[in-house]
């Protein structure tokens, strides 16, 4: 009984391979008719959008003259600049913001140890109160 089953299994295998060979020969010969069911080459339509930091997304260049924007990255309690893990900016923009804030502070546009009273109610770009790890700001 077992031998009979084994022979039939083998025979089926041979038939399937023979059919595959035939199908390949057939496609090579008939190139004029493209298969409508074949996959179309295109960009991945389910690609996720690249995450961008808020300044890169809106194409904003931080400037020392725009001290209101820079004050949004300053702590209202200590006047210190929030680091990258709190602001959520990319490395380049964070460096630019820090440089411009120091410029503005040096030029007496922005204070060092506190935040301007009039800017305290500005919209928050990030949440410094719920930190990933404890901070001294």
């Amino acid at each position: 009984m077992k031998m009979a089953l084994f022979k039939s299994f083998f025979a089926r295998q041979m038939l399937s391979t023979h059919q595959a060979v035939l199908s390949t020969i057939r496609t090579q010969s008939s190139n004029l008719k493209p298969d409508p069911d074949a996959p179309v080459e295109m960009e991945n339509p389910f690609k996720k959008e690249l995450k961008q930091c808020i300044l890169c997304k809106l194409n904003i260049d931080p400037d020392y003259k725009n001290y209101r924007l820079l004050s949004q990255f300053q702590s209202p309690y200590t006047g210190r600049i929030y680091p990258r893990h709190i602001t959520g900016l990319c490395k380049r923009k964070q460096m630019q913001v820090e440089q411009e804030i120091t410029k503005a502070q040096d030029l007496a546009y922005m204070p060092y140890t506190y935040k301007h009273k009039i800017f305290l109610k500005d919209p928050k770009l990030f949440d410094p109160e719920n930190p990933v790890r404890s901070h001294r700001f």
């Binding site: 690249l50 995450k51 961008q52 930091c53 890169c56 997304k57 194409n59 260049d61 020392y64 003259k65 959520g88 900016l89 990319c90 490395k91 380049r92 923009k93 410029k103 040096d106 030029l107 007496a108 546009y109 922005m110 204070p111 060092y112 301007h116």
Partner: protein, 150 residues
């Protein structure tokens, strides 16, 4: 001639005096072969902190921004001249650079450390370094037993 931004703070003084001091500043720029593109007046504002200049403390000042083109060698001379000027509380020169637009790298920075390029580079550099931190006992140093607890 490269473009510079000259940010000035002028002390609290009446308008005719302010006018003469601005004229003096502009003439200094023209004398060293420069041009003025733009003068912006940001107004008479209280300063966030008081500062002393030429023996006087200032709590408010007139904020001005000059956009100028001067030869590079003249910048130091201008700085020195304005340092001696009594009416100028603070002056800073900034070179205007055209920022090149580069893609945001936030996505790469938020990856776990094993997938970040800079961390991978550090690991590769570490492999080339000589390891001076782990001590390995030499078996051929004369002792006929292993002295430590295995």
């Amino acid at each position: 001639m490269p473009t510079y931004e000259l940010a000035l703070l002028l002390r609290n003084m009446p308008k005719p005096e302010l006018k003469t001091s601005l004229k003096r500043i502009s003439h200094a720029i023209f004398d060293c072969g420069g041009i003025i593109r733009n003068i912006e007046n940001l107004g008479f504002r209280p300063m966030p902190y008081k500062s002393t200049a030429h023996g006087m403390t200032h709590k408010e000042a007139n904020y001005f921004i000059f956009k100028i083109d001067t030869p590079t060698k003249a910048v130091i001379d201008l700085k020195e001249e304005y340092k001696r000027d009594v009416d100028i509380v603070r002056q800073r020169f900034f070179k205007i650079k055209e920022e090149e637009r580069k893609a945001c790298t936030l996505e790469e920075e938020l990856l776990p450390p094993a997938y970040r390029e800079d961390v991978q580079k550090m690991i590769q550099i570490g492999k080339t370094q000589v390891n001076r931190f782990t001590y390995k006992f030499k078996y051929n140093s004369g002792l006929d037993y292993y002295p430590f607890q295995k």
